[in-house]
Symmetry: D2
Subunit: 301 residues, 4 copies
């Protein structure tokens, strides 16, 4: 089927390419010229403007947004809105906050435009292995998208599905990412313990490889960890500095709002904050307190 | 090759059967008659005594212990010791504490008996899928075991290996289990958040299935979680009571001893303690404190 | 000086009484008749309506709100606004979210009404011991309130102060409560450890008393804990169920928004959520997972 | 009464001086000459040897150990043992592990020597304010010590007591220190949040002072924190590096051994480990994992 892909960055361009390979007609657009050029080199003919993109799509149109969460999504929708017609479908495949998706779906419904939120997992590997897709929104709209969903997913009947009404797709993706934080932190802590046990001089890559088959902790993240350890067993040159991209925070906030204690997901987020706080005021104050009551020497900077 | 398997419980009997299927001559023993009978029904001819088991093995003998960690391992070794000869190999495939394995290896070395510690992962699925095996000890001893290790493992060249000197195998298994606690807790928290978000009425089994392919959180534990949710989506009849079997505790203690902060693994253990503490004195005292300073009503039992 | 106290509940009535004792003319109002009657019995002559209250106050008026945080504050301000004049001062002494206080201050400033946010700590003991007061807002407005602040505080020059612009008072109180959660949880955990160590049969009240003088952990919360343990050493009849009133949640959210890792404050909140979750889905799922991979029995409900 | 004080370091010399001021005859000893000289300058006449110390004491002798926990305690006891007689009392006022105290008490009992474990809190302030003393051991032995306990404590009837049999004193002190870790961490996090909220430009010392009277979080640790913030409001020159001295670790281990979840005390310890881990392997690996699955850039060292 025909699909318009807005946002041809790392994720969007890969998804466009997977759709092309699957026999779909992909019309692309990116506000950045370099992204359009890069997409063209990969066989995706990008439109020069949103207008041109929409004009190229048959009705009812399906437009997939793959742009950074936040204001850009709202701006893009605002620009699209006058170009679209009743019955058209807009899919937000990015990492939007689920409450935003609920709001957008409701707003566009006033014009008869159908809004589908799609949590998309798979990262840079999705091009080859397919994407895990969690969809929220109108059932008929999602049904109309089945051809492209079956292509984007790992297989026609696996790794994708409508999980609920508007917002449910991004909610599920948010939780997915919260879990991801926890899984990553668990592996990282485990390997850090092995690494510190210098008496045994573990070959961390070997241990990861052994665990990859047969063990209870085998997983795709472990496969990637094994790759990372093969390339750089001592993590040389990599700073102990871990970014976070919003969904972990939202999961923590949502868990608290729902009165669900989620200590491991929460601590995984806090550890990332901690990794970036190399001048901790709290720790300085603790050191000063110990000096106050016990006369313990503080370490000078 | 010939192998003596001591301990024909859930794990030992499965491992014996996998070895039999692989063409090895398996001699079994279990102190419990019912376990011997059950083993016989699966084609493993158990010896009537340790003496008979040892007598049946060609030299140098290989004896695999698959008994509960702790005193039983020491007792079994004490009973075996006079029956064994210089050059024989004892493998402890259970979940022993690594310091115990180091001590046992050193002790048996005085008699020329070679002791191999083998962390074994795979649970009840190992029979079909093979076991992940992390080995510690003498290189030559482990080399002599290669035929059975290749059979027990998922494949001849995957999922097993010598990871270091005596103790290293059980150390790696200990950390493996610590990671496992963290992974399990991360999934459990994530699904609990989904379950509590009643507006979306998630089908938890469906979400697990979607995540199983393509997503960043795909793993074998997620496969099992999907199975569990398929059978019992509401966890009906299951008490919120989670056991722990020692290795999580050891991982926490070891991390602290090594000055490695491992908050997620640690909290995963504490959550299990919490699950079994349904009459928390701490919580009662908190409620009483709030009443003291703020006049807040306590909830009565 | 003259002051109008709106909200004559547990906190408001006590504060009104402390002000009366200090020689101020206190005009009170409460929407609930029973609260008005109770106040009258304590010597506070309550007005029958907001209008009557405002009419009774000399210009520039000072009106202190001691009502539950949230919509009631907005509603009360909306009702007051047309009754007030340029130069009047409204103080919110409740536990409002600091962003709300910033918004309200800005809104009222349009009419020349000065809004002061006052974090108030001290609980039911404040009547006798004085309240700790953290004030945010216009310097001149706060200066005009000095007479009543000096009376409400533990002493004229201790326990109160302007800590910054609008919002800063409630921000400081929010953090105060976050710290309070952490302190309470630390004590509760410690006494729970003592209580569980049955070999030593500790008298928890005695231990608390010993710690109250000379020890590093002496504090007012420990004094209260000692009282609670004196009255009810086994916490008999008290459910292990701990409420939370919003400020802990805000502190956690604010810490994350500021990229400050605050694990102890955060976990203290999560423990309260946990205390109220006696049918944890996460724990049930963990139990089911263990059964899946290891054949471990689940505990039945 | 007469007392022999072994160990004239920061704590021991202060305690000796407080006893002197209280009218007791204090006989001191320290293996380090400089400590003996410093003690002499404070009016404590130190013996030149353990033999001389013991010879100077009337029977039944009371000998107070104030030496670092661990091997030094065992060595000192071994040296004392042949010098002591049936009925003599040895008090360990240091931070020994409670299991060690139980073992030592049992061992010395074979010779009729009475061993008292005394958890001592108060730090460098104890000299002026008195020490909080938690005692474990034989009732009659402790009764014989009442004169010196009443002097060391903040007052004759406050801040000290026998809390149970041998080991109970050090157990209570261990938990005391665990609580202390939690309290300190709670304050440190709170002030770190205030410090990071730059819009409000809080004067942290002022906030601490406000909280010191009337507030729910008032405590002696807060008094000390206020002092530290007065002297150095920005913690300039202090490294974010926090030591730990054993008792936090023991509390965590004990809580787990008793199946008591103590997340806040536990996290407080882990935060200290974290403060000293400025090259976290776990964080590097997390960064590498993110790069693997998402193509996210790692930060270079």
């Amino acid at each position: 089927m025909d699909i318009g892909m807005i946002g041809l960055g790392r994720m969007g361009a890969n998804m466009a390419e997977r759709l092309l390979r699957g026999g779909h007609r992909v019309h692309g657009f990116d506000a950045v010229e370099a992204a359009r050029d890069a997409a063209k080199a990969r066989g995706i003919a990008p439109a020069e403007s949103l207008q041109a993109l929409i004009a190229a799509l048959p009705s009812p149109r399906a437009v997939w947004l793959m742009v950074p969460a936040g204001a850009i999504v709202d701006d893009t929708i605002a620009a699209l809105r006058p170009l679209l017609a009743r019955g058209d479908i807009v899919i937000d495949g990015g990492n939007s906050r689920y409450q935003d998706s609920m709001r957008r779906a409701e707003s566009l419904a006033a014009d008869g435009i159908r809004y589908v939120d799609c949590g998309t997992s798979g990262g840079v590997w999705g091009l080859q292995e397919g994407y895990s897709l969690m969809l929220g929104g109108d059932e008929a709209a999602i049904e109309a998208l089945h051809p492209i969903l079956k292509t984007l997913a790992p297989s026609a009947d696996q790794g994708w599905g409508r999980v609920g009404p508007s917002g449910a797709g991004h909610f599920a993706k948010m939780v997915h990412n919260g879990i991801e934080y926890g899984l990553m932190q668990a592996y990282a802590e485990g390997f850090a313990i092995l690494q510190r046990k210098q008496d045994f001089a573990f070959d961390l890559h070997q241990v990861a490889e052994i665990w990859r088959t047969g063990s209870v902790v085998r997983s795709w993240l472990l496969d990637l960890t094994a790759d990372a350890l093969a390339k750089n067993p001592t993590m040389e040159g990599i700073a102990p500095w871990v970014s976070d991209s919003g969904e972990g925070r939202w999961t923590v906030a949502e868990a608290i709002a729902l009165d669900v204690p989620a200590p491991v997901i929460t601590l995984s987020l806090l550890e990332r904050l901690r990794s970036r706080d190399d001048d901790s005021f709290a720790d300085k104050l603790l050191s000063a307190m110990r000096n106050q009551f016990g006369g313990h020497a503080v370490k000078k900077e």
